[in-house]
């Protein structure tokens, strides 16, 4: 074995220095300003046995198995700011038919926002991308058309978030971070669609077009957006941010130049270039899953999390006394029950877990499933109630006369959506 000592080792014809077998650096460091590509393994800091003696420092991005990991955001767990991106939690039910207006959550945290754009069925679907680990998707199917859209008509899926959960974006500062939204999409209708990001605190937005390239085929889309140095988000539990998947829009929402940089929101710049109207045929459908919203300009692998963790996040906005998979209003054998010991001051208090983001709207259900009712088990009658709600719980009071010693039963839902 001989030794050659050189000050610089430089490739002759290009910028790539190829070493066919191995390169051992026994000194303290090897500095490479370009890319490092290793066919088999890269061991750093191992000089004896397996005890690390040095660090691998990367100031760019780390790519593993074609997956790029970010150098901004810095979080390996909790990267995904979207909630229920795998569409696993559907507390309100899994299928909603004859949907003609806004308000339907086919899965938790994803709102179907709709006006004068046909009739739809909204479902938590089990049709998912093959081999990606997803089990559920949010799907909308057109069941009655609106081929000619009125000016203000629209159909889109909204994902709304709190400002206090988005502090890492550094929005409204000189250090505002780029961010990336990645998702899987499937539609029978190829063509151009719009993903819009709204800053609801400052009425600003940024939009991008994307295409569904192949009919009835799951496709992964990755859209990166610049950070916004204007308009800080509110550090509170109110709506600050909305991610919007548009698939139908009237002329009120297009005509100007698509807003592809951050600016004050102007309605006719929000969907320009989107050619599709998904409300024009009952053959049409649109499905998404695997939604990830993260800091940085690269999409990392989808961050799967335990069902219980996703459910807990969703319960800050919506929770119920029913079992997780029981649709509210269903007549069930088990329920909350209280024995009245005072015919006047017969309050039933229920604490929420977790505490909700704000005082919720509460719907009570009798054991028969009737809304706005409690069940007097002693008389076998449904009775009216009144409810005071707070972020931390509810106080339920029967509005009808109940005799001391009688038993009251009910279920409830509590909604503090944004």
């Amino acid at each position: 074995m001989s030794t050659v000592k050189v000050d610089n080792l430089q490739a002759r014809s290009d910028d790539v220095l190829t070493i066919p077998s191995s390169l051992n650096v026994t000194g303290y460091s090897a500095n490479v300003s370009g890319n490092v590509s290793v066919a088999r393994s890269l061991a750093v800091g191992y000089t004896d046995g397996r005890t690390p003696q040095a660090n691998l420092e990367v100031t760019g991005n780390v790519v593993m198995s074609s997956m790029s990991y970010p150098n901004a955001g810095g979080l390996w767990s909790g990267r995904n700011m979207a909630i229920n991106g795998a569409m696993q939690v559907a507390q309100r039910g899994t299928s909603f038919t004859s949907v003609t207006a806004s308000g339907t959550f086919g899965v938790d945290r994803f709102l179907y926002h709709l006006a004068n754009a046909g009739t739809w069925t909204v479902t938590q679907s089990t049709d998912v991308p093959t081999g990606q680990g997803f089990l559920k998707a949010l799907r909308v199917d057109c069941t009655a058309t609106q081929a000619s859209l009125a000016a203000g008509a629209y159909a889109r899926i909204d994902h709304r978030l709190l400002g206090q959960d988005l502090i890492r974006l550094k929005k409204g500062t000189a250090n505002a971070e780029k961010f990336t939204v990645s998702f899987w999409v499937k539609s029978n209708k190829t063509g151009t669609y719009v993903l819009e990001i709204d800053d609801d605190d400052n009425s600003r937005c940024i939009c991008q077009l994307y295409t569904v390239d192949t009919t009835n085929t799951w496709e992964k889309k990755v859209l990166t957006f610049d950070g916004d140095t204007s308009g800080a988000l509110g550090d509170d539990a109110n709506r600050s941010w909305t991610i919007e998947w548009w698939f139908a829009s009237g002329t009120d929402w297009k005509g100007g130049t698509l807003q592809t940089t951050w600016a004050s929101k102007v309605n006719n710049t929000r969907t320009t270039g989107m050619t599709n109207n998904l409300a024009d045929s009952t053959d049409n459908d649109f499905a998404i899953t695997g939604v990830q919203f993260e800091v940085g300009e690269y999409a990392t692998p989808f961050e799967f999390e335990p069902q219980a963790e996703t459910l807990r996040k969703c319960q800050r906005y919506y929770q119920k006394s029913y079992a997780e998979t029981t649709t509210p209003g269903t007549s069930v054998a088990s329920y909350l029950q209280a024995k009245v010991d005072d015919s006047t001051y017969n309050f039933i208090k229920v604490n929420f877990s977790p505490v909700m983001r704000a005082a919720p709207t509460v719907v009570t259900y009798s054991t028969t499933g009737a809304s706005g009712k409690l069940r007097n088990l002693s008389t076998g009658a449904d009775i009216d109630e009144t409810v005071a709600s707070y972020a931390e719980g509810i106080m339920v009071h029967n509005a009808s006369v109940v005799t001391s010693g009688q038993n009251i039963a009910f279920h409830y839902t509590a909604a503090a959506e944004i």
Binding site: A237, T361, V363, T364, A415, I418
Partner: protein
Amino acid sequence: MEISNAKYTKVVDAETNSSIRVTIDGIVMNVPLDVNNTHYQAIQEWVAEGNTITPAS
């Protein structure tokens, strides 16, 4: 939202309104008097259109 039959209710004491009992899209709900509640916001828009909330009994 289809809003009807809105009426204030007093739950905690006889002096203070606690919530609005209202039918929205066919469901009887209890809406807190909280400006950050989206149903309360919708009821305020409904009132602005000329509708009224019945006082508590």
